[in-house]
């Protein structure tokens, strides 16, 4: 009973904060709203005994939203990030597509005859996840690791300004720097 009440409160907070992301006046407030939505979902994960993933979601998203806030201030300046703004295009088609998507997904959720639960959760879910990562699912983690490393390299290559190795442009044999 209590779990049900907490779930519905968190569900309303998650969706309302999600809607607020695109309704509030400033991008800084939108960042806070998105953080609230993620924290609510992280707490729902805790309700279904996903302690590790719930805590990860809350911590990671709080940090991510802090970084996002910094980006907004950096790119748009302090005042525009906090001032009222509305920068949208194709509002009506986007609304139609999103409502249509919700109707289809909701119909699937309500009409599909979902099977009953098979098996029971392990006594210690965090330990079972750790064992899965280090044993049967190690290949998944070994794939994720180079993907993350490649992401770091690619993000740095994209984000860093051209350095001294690029002073000659694409034609490195030209011998002199472009004017």
């Amino acid at each position: 009973m209590l779990t049900g009440i907490v779930f519905w409160v968190l569900a309303v907070v998650a969706v309302a904060a999600g809607v607020a992301v695109f309704r509030v006046d400033s991008m800084a407030r939108a960042t806070y709203a998105l953080a609230a939505s993620f924290i609510a979902v992280g707490l729902v994960l805790l309700l279904v005994d996903l302690e590790f993933l719930g805590v990860i979601t809350v911590l990671m998203m709080t940090m991510e939203m802090a970084v996002m806030g910094i980006y907004m201030i950096m790119f748009m300046g302090m005042n525009p990030a906090l001032m009222p703004m509305s920068m949208v295009h194709g509002k009506r088609p986007a609304l139609v597509v999103s409502i249509g998507t919700f109707v289809v997904l909701a119909a699937g959720a309500l009409l599909v005859p979902w099977p009953t639960r098979r098996g029971a959760p392990a006594a210690d879910l965090v330990t079972s996840l750790g064992e899965a990562i280090m044993e049967s699912k190690m290949l998944v983690m070994m794939t994720v690791s180079p993907v993350l490393f490649a992401t770091i390299v690619a993000a740095l290559v994209l984000a860093l300004p051209r350095g001294r190795y690029d002073r000659l442009g694409d034609d490195l044999r030209a011998g002199k720097a472009p004017r």
């Binding site: 992301v21 980006y71 986007a94 597509v97 997904l105 959720a109």
Partner: protein
């Protein structure tokens, strides 16, 4: 709290995120829409895990989704930085030529 109710909430989050990803002009706001969509995916995956098959496999899948979110954020910020450096703009409408 049932599978259906959790999936309904996840569908609502996904749809709101989709609206933002399609309609917003600022790159960072588009990223927020994508993050909200992945938020819905995380909730739906947790619901499937808990109500259908609470094995460690489902937790690993959730971990992969969270990793995908991290990659999306890092690359999105990198592209936003590159756009801002090269064009002094953070709007998607100013970068439509990238689709050619």
């Amino acid at each position: 709290m049932t599978l259906q109710t959790m999936l309904l909430v996840a569908a609502a989050l996904f749809s709101v995120g989709l609206y933002g990803a399609i309609s917003q002009q600022v790159v960072v706001m588009v990223m927020m829409g994508l993050e909200l969509m992945l938020n819905g995916v995380i909730l739906a995956a947790a619901a499937f895990w808990w109500f259908l098959s609470p094995t460690p496999d489902g937790q690993v899948l959730l971990l992969v989704v969270i990793t995908a979110m991290t990659v999306e954020m890092a690359m999105g910020f990198a592209v936003a930085t590159l756009l801002h450096r090269s064009r002094q703009s953070d709007m998607t409408d100013m970068a439509t030529d990238l689709s050619r």
